[in-house]
């Protein structure tokens, strides 16, 4: 059946229309869908592909057409439901007396007088001003916005320090304050481990692993990725550390970051001397020399940070002993690949997970290139044209301009999966899936079709293709961890229990 929905004088931006179009096409049984303005030329296209109806023919230039062709009524109804769900809320007029969404920090405070934290997510150039307003009102601040200058960041953090308020960010994607997840965050057990992290998915991975090991989290404070640069001086990592050292619910503290500037590291280590709680430091790619003369425990992998923290928190050793009981016969898997299938491709949604994978893999392969690499010889020159071992962080700006982040809308990764399958030198595709607040409601579900397609492409050329995946999520995340896992298992995807394990599987098979 086919039908068209006409919205008179309605306009939605093209990203919304594209996203709607792709979501409708993903509905089982939907054969074709076109969402566009009802201009003559667009109507002509509908006629050419057999989607035109009397309603669409009668629509005017300024009307929106949603044309759907489906195998049966159920599929059509499901597509229709999606259209209503995705387009209706935006233009919904408030009823008289219904509370309007606040447009300013002042009006938000009028509605919620006891609020003590503001999440700022506005274009970068306005973000600093809004954050400043929030600080002046005595609110802690989490800045999801990026494109804030270093000078502005420094000024905001200095104001925060002076007022005893946290300034998490800019470009802070993850926090969990009093077990309330902000932006992207997993649902985890409440406990006695407090974390300060300068990386989004790094913080998520440590929280998830703590939960899986039987521990719990008191606070997860994000600082934004630039906090430990010389220009900012680690102000929020130090303030976060102090806050956790005062927090009665926190007994063990974990700090996560890429290696800080030396002068900043010195300040942090100095501050740790004043903390009478155990501190675990995880500086991915950090220098072992730094361990000297510090009472902190140094680890270099996210999983290790979680494990050490759970050990120090005094609980749940039984859970720790259960770890890594899964066994994957990599020797057998190796036999599935042809000799020329000697490369892996990592398609990541989480930036820190991608960086950690690079840090692990570089020691086992002659060359690994990535768009998150800092070393010149590891930098990927062209994200669309490469060969060899490659790790891509698909959440980087170069992929996301004009599109949602792949943790929100994973379809960005789908065509990459099938593209990699066409490369006869690729043996393994490594992927991450993030669950939790803020993430897509069914990240595996939207990806599974592409995994099947990729395997078919490889099979049609007489090859096998191995998929290795890690799901960064907990059993209490809203997306149903087990359901997500089952879908991958049914497609023969190897599932690791941590990012480090996923990466090690790749090494065992290919190195």
């Amino acid at each position: 059946m086919k039908n068209t929905i006409i919205r008179k004088n309605a306009y939605y931006d093209s990203v919304t229309l594209m996203s709607l179009s792709s979501k409708i096409l993903d509905v089982n049984g939907v054969e074709e869908a076109v969402v566009s303005m009802a201009t003559e030329m667009n109507k002509e296209l509908l006629q050419n592909v057999g989607l035109a109806t009397k309603e669409s023919d009668d629509a005017g230039n300024n009307d929106l057409i949603i044309a759907i062709k489906a195998e049966n009524e159920n599929s059509y109804d499901e597509a229709l439901r999606l259209v209503e769900e995705l387009l209706s809320p935006k233009n919904k007029k408030k009823n008289k007396g219904e509370l309007e969404s606040p447009k300013t920090i002042d009006s938000a405070l009028e509605q919620m007088e006891d609020a003590n934290l503001a999440v700022i997510s506005v274009p970068g150039r306005y973000a600093a001003r809004e954050a400043k307003k929030a600080l002046e009102k005595g609110l802690h601040v989490m800045m999801f916005s990026d494109n804030v200058t270093l000078e502005e960041e420094r000024e905001l953090k200095e104001i925060g320090r002076e007022k005893g308020l946290l300034v998490m960010g800019p470009d802070c994607g993850t926090a969990s304050i009093n077990n309330v997840g902000l932006c992207f965050a997993n649902e985890v057990r409440k406990g006695n481990i407090g974390i300060v992290g300068a990386s989004g998915t790094g913080l998520q991975e440590v929280m998830v692993q703590i939960h899986r090991l039987g521990g719990g989290v008191s606070q997860g404070i994000g600082t934004g990725g630039r906090d430990l640069k010389e220009e900012i001086g680690g102000i929020m990592m130090i303030e976060g550390l102090k806050a956790l050292s005062r927090d009665n619910d926190t007994e063990v503290i974990v700090l996560i970051s890429k290696p800080p500037a030396k002068s900043v590291e010195k300040k942090i280590l100095e501050e740790i001397k004043n903390v009478d709680k155990p501190v675990v430091i995880c500086f991915i790619d950090g220098d072992k020399e730094d361990e000297k003369d510090s009472k902190a425990v140094f680890v270099y992998r996210l999983y290790e940070a979680a494990k050490k923290a759970v050990e120090l928190s005094g609980g749940c050793r039984e859970e720790i002993e259960k770890e890594n009981n899964s066994y994957i016969d990599t020797k057998e898997l190796k036999k599935l690949l042809k000799p020329e299938q000697r490369y892996f491709r990592g398609l990541f949604c989480g930036g820190t997970l991608c960086a950690e994978a690079l840090s692990i893999l570089r020691g086992s392969f002659e060359s690994v290139k990535s768009n998150v690499a800092k070393n010149e010889n590891e930098k990927l020159e062209n994200i669309n044209d490469y060969h060899g071992n490659v790790l891509l962080d698909l959440g980087e700006d170069e992929f996301t301009v004009g599109k949602p982040h792949p943790m929100i809308e994973p379809t960005l990764r789908l065509h990459r999966i099938t593209k990699e399958a066409e490369d006869e030198e690729v043996g393994i595709i490594l992927m991450d899936f993030e669950l939790g607040y803020g993430s897509h409601e069914d990240p595996v579900g939207v990806t599974i079709k592409s995994i099947k397609e990729a395997k078919n492409i490889a099979n049609s050329h007489g090859r096998n293709l191995i998929f290795v995946a890690y799901i960064c999520g907990t059993d209490i995340d809203k997306q149903n961890y087990e359901g997500q896992r089952k879908m991958l298992e049914q497609e023969g995807v190897l599932i690791a229990e941590s990012n480090i394990e996923a990466t090690n599987i790749v090494i065992e098979i290919l190195s």
Binding site: S14, V34, T39, M41, Y126, E398, H415
Partner: protein, 314 residues
């Protein structure tokens, strides 16, 4: 933004262009001067009593013909309780929309009056070099859904993603249009197949043509003038079928005018400052959702056509 005692939200005008001055002058003695046509987040459009369309926008849009920018970056017009058909009044030195919004026309407003200098001497190597920078950029950035697929597929021979139905068809139509221009057999049908085609309020085909024609408005060589004449003669603005907002955009372009970000990008193409060029490109790409990319592809395609036909100037 202030609320006065009658709950009218007041703004100050920040900048406008010569068409707005003409509009003010023509409407000196009239109280009701127009009606709201459409309302978006960062702009509202209104029609004057002769059905000419004007735009009122926030400060963070670029200058454009027939556009007034108010001195407020954060305003969302959609939140101002305005409705299509609301009347505009000019009272003293203010534009008033019903009893809801007042815009004061301060004497210190900026008059945006770009000096569109015709460029006759083209440096082919410089243009080629800038096309190279654009190619690197568009590989990594730019929005899908419109002309990006055409550019990647045809000029860069890259299949970066699986295109939608409209992108594929748009790509074919642009190819037909360019082939016809090269072969000298361009006609009304081939141009009109682009107009109104594509998603978005300004369909991608319109954005492409706007970018393309804007280059021909600035570059003045024998070849560019020849194809510009042909195209202008073939487009009948009164007959084209596209959205009202897009029709206004094309109509402005056919008059030889362009918005600020298109002009600066085209001029950036002809100057040697690479940093400026990339800044102008980035600003252009940020227009709308996919419009900026479609406009930029139109501009660059025109430059490619001109450089391919460079010998015709000799």
């Amino acid at each position: 933004m202030e609320k006065d005692e009658y709950e009218i939200i007041s703004f100050s005008a920040y900048a406008y262009d010569k068409h707005f001055i003409e509009f003010f002058n023509e409407n000196k003695n009239l109280k009701e001067v127009g009606k709201i046509h459409s309302i978006y987040s960062r702009t509202i459009n209104f029609l004057d009593n002769k059905d000419n369309m004007y735009t009122i926008g926030s400060k963070n849009i670029d200058n454009s013909p027939f556009t007034l920018r108010i001195d407020n970056r954060n305003i969302s017009f959609e939140d101002l309780d305005l409705e299509e058909g609301n009347r505009l009044f000019k009272i003293d030195n203010s534009l008033i929309i019903e009893d809801k919004v007042r815009i004061d026309l301060e004497s210190n407003c900026i008059l945006w009056n770009p000096n569109v200098e015709k460029r006759r001497d083209l440096n082919r190597n410089l243009i080629m070099e800038n096309i190279g920078y654009f190619n690197d950029f568009i590989l990594k950035k730019g929005s899908n859904g419109g002309c990006r697929y055409f550019y990647l597929e045809n000029f860069l021979k890259v299949k970066a993603y699986t295109p939608g139905l409209i992108e594929k068809e748009l790509s074919r139509r642009i190819e037909v249009f360019l082939d016809a221009l090269e072969d000298g057999n361009i006609d009304e049908v081939k141009i009109n197949s682009l107009i109104g085609f594509g998603i978005g309020l300004t369909p991608s085909g319109d954005d492409f043509l706007t970018g393309f024609l804007s280059v021909l408005n600035i570059i003045s060589t024998d070849y560019s003038n020849k194809i510009k004449r042909k195209l202008i003669n073939l487009i009948d603005i009164d007959k084209i079928a596209t959205t009202d907002v897009s029709k206004q955009m094309l109509s402005i372009t056919l008059r030889g005018e362009s918005r600020e970000y298109i002009l600066s990008f085209i001029n950036g193409f002809l100057d040697e400052d690479k940093k400026q060029f990339l800044l102008f490109l980035e600003r252009l790409l940020n227009i709308g959702s996919s419009s900026g990319t479609d406009l930029a592809v139109g501009v660059v395609t025109a430059f490619i056509l001109l450089t391919n036909n460079f010998n015709m100037e000799e």
